[in-house]
Subunit: 349 residues, 2 copies
């Protein structure tokens, strides 16, 4: 039993008597909930790695294990749907552990009244996404809740993969001297969802970047590159992911804003809706922390994959006393890129 | 890609244009949804075993993998809560594969406004249940949905365990000549929940049987008993579990009603509310199919565990052309014990 297990609720309930939407937004309150509440209750060495998944050893074989629930609204959006999102999200969390997804589970929470055809479209999409990633959906569960107690459909996926990397890939492996690589342009998924929700019209709709990342990652590993950390840039976007990693590794990460690719329609939608693309969710982008000497070769490998053609070096890792992320803006000024405190984009994934 | 993958929705949408509560009740409609819709989309040899979990082989080591989402209402009930239920349910599904749960994931879908203290109580309960079962919660996810789009809290757990049984334990292993053992009295969990919901008052409240089943199962395995199939008697109860197994194994299962233990308060609550205890959910009971010669030794081992003291032989397996379950009533008449068509107990787990 962990030492602080008999304590009262470790999240200050005078400040947060109830869970708010911001607790699920991927920013500071999400981190607080995970670190203080779940961390205090569940504490163990695997969970404490604070990675996208757990890496477990059994008989000298390393397996990765991860889960995500999906509550995205709407269920269908340009470039994907809750089904492809749920499969790719779990496939990608495993890839970030250096693992190839092998086996997936799925849990459905269906609101009474969901059209049967809608459910069929979603599960068909899940199968296609699983096939594309080389994974199998091997076990599942279905629950139905009464009308008004859900929102059509929520999907959970968990996944087990075999770790293909000989060395650990995790936030704690990041060291000063590493560079930060970004696999492509950012902000598409969040803005694809928000454009639908807000009824924004563009000449061509913004497509989610939802895609499996396993092949580019496996190519990096097979080339024998020294990879310190991988992180897909989902809820909370690039800025939140970098903050989480900087905090665990206790390093300073300096990012060059001009080096971060953002497509023009995404930039436009962000301006209209008041979002910073660095905080907007992606579902097919990741950051890689590698020693500077490996950067060029890694970028060459990444650019050989269609979804990583815009891969770029966007920053460097420096020594620091505590985690910190800074951003050098296009006009040369430098500022701290912090976790967001409030709610940014609810139900984006 | 499976052969029938290009078909239109395989559940007849003229009959079922929408998902109903009965599709989640564990009866005939749940089976139809799983077999026709999920089965058609996801088809693969592991899923097609139709067991409580999938058994996967990697490097000669066999792992079991399972998932369940929990939407029980209310969140707290006599004998347990959604947290202990979610951990024990997944631990038990793995036990039914002959596996000891090692690693668990948890996914939370929280409705905005849930009291922080309630969440803390639930996660503390999950930790205690995991400790009791010898498992670790190693990875997780949190989503928050807007008010009116959930019901306080939904929890998903998935689990990975190491299979300790040398021979396969699965419905297809059941053969004529097997006997059916039941690990204890039935109907407690469902009636504990329904008594709270309906405001029934008893001298002492009916306690859920929610408990981990891993130790009795591991003892059966360590004794070297030949076990053909194990199944925990959750949603849909004993009757549904037997029907599912009889269908996969294509055998007739004859049950003796008088041999099935039902505690008096449970029987009383079932009579008041109009339920048949054989269809009521349990969360700490299982059926074991073993060759007749193993029955006595198995019962002795089971009765050494506090939650299995009422273990009994309740039926036999006979040759048949298709799956069938019959019940010999207390007055000697025999009838078919079928899957229920409608909704019995929504949101019991």
């Amino acid at each position: 039993m962990p030492a602080d297990f008999t304590l009262s609720c470790p999240v200050p309930i005078q400040d947060y008597p109830q869970v708010t939407l911001a607790h699920g937004g991927g920013g500071r309150l999400t981190q607080q909930l995970i670190d203080r509440l779940f961390g205090a209750a569940f504490r163990n060495p695997l969970l404490d790695q604070k990675h996208d998944g757990a890496v477990m050893e059994t008989d000298g074989r390393r397996l990765a294990f991860t889960t995500d629930s999906y509550v995205v609204h709407p269920l269908f959006f340009p470039g994907g749907d809750i089904g492809s999102l749920a499969v790719n999200g779990t496939v990608n969390d495993l890839a970030m552990c250096g693992a190839r997804a092998r086996w997936l589970s799925c849990g459905f929470i269906i609101e009474e009244g969901l059209a049967m055809e809608t459910l069929w479209k979603v599960v068909r999409s899940m199968r296609q996404a699983a096939d594309a990633a080389g994974a199998q959906i091997v076990t599942g569960d279905t629950k139905v809740v009464d009308k008004g107690r859900g929102d059509g459909l929520y999907v959970n996926t968990a996944g087990v993969g075999v770790v293909e990397s000989a060395r650990p890939i995790a936030p704690a492996q990041v060291v000063p001297g590493d560079v930060v690589l970004l696999s492509g342009d950012v902000g598409r998924h969040g803005m694809a969802i928000m454009s639908v929700r807000e009824g924004l019209q563009f000449e061509s709709p913004i497509q989610s970047d939802c895609a499996p990342l396993v092949e580019p990652v496996m190519d990096l590993l097979q080339a024998g590159l020294e990879i310190h950390c991988l992180r897909d840039l989902t809820r909370g976007g690039l800025a939140s992911a970098l903050n989480e990693i900087a905090a665990v590794a206790a390093v300073q990460v300096d990012i060059d804003e001009a080096a971060v690719p953002v497509e023009e329609p995404v930039r436009g939608a962000c301006e209209i809706l008041g979002f910073d693309p660095l905080y907007v969710a992606n579902e097919g982008r990741f950051a890689a922390f590698v020693p500077a000497r490996e950067a060029e070769r890694a970028l060459q490998i990444l650019r050989g994959h269609s979804q990583c053609q815009a891969a770029a070096t966007i920053g460097v890792v420096k020594k620091a006393d505590a985690g910190l992320v800074t951003l050098k803006s296009r006009i040369g000024a430098s500022r701290i890129l912090d976790l967001l405190s409030g709610e940014q984009l609810p139900r984006i994934c």
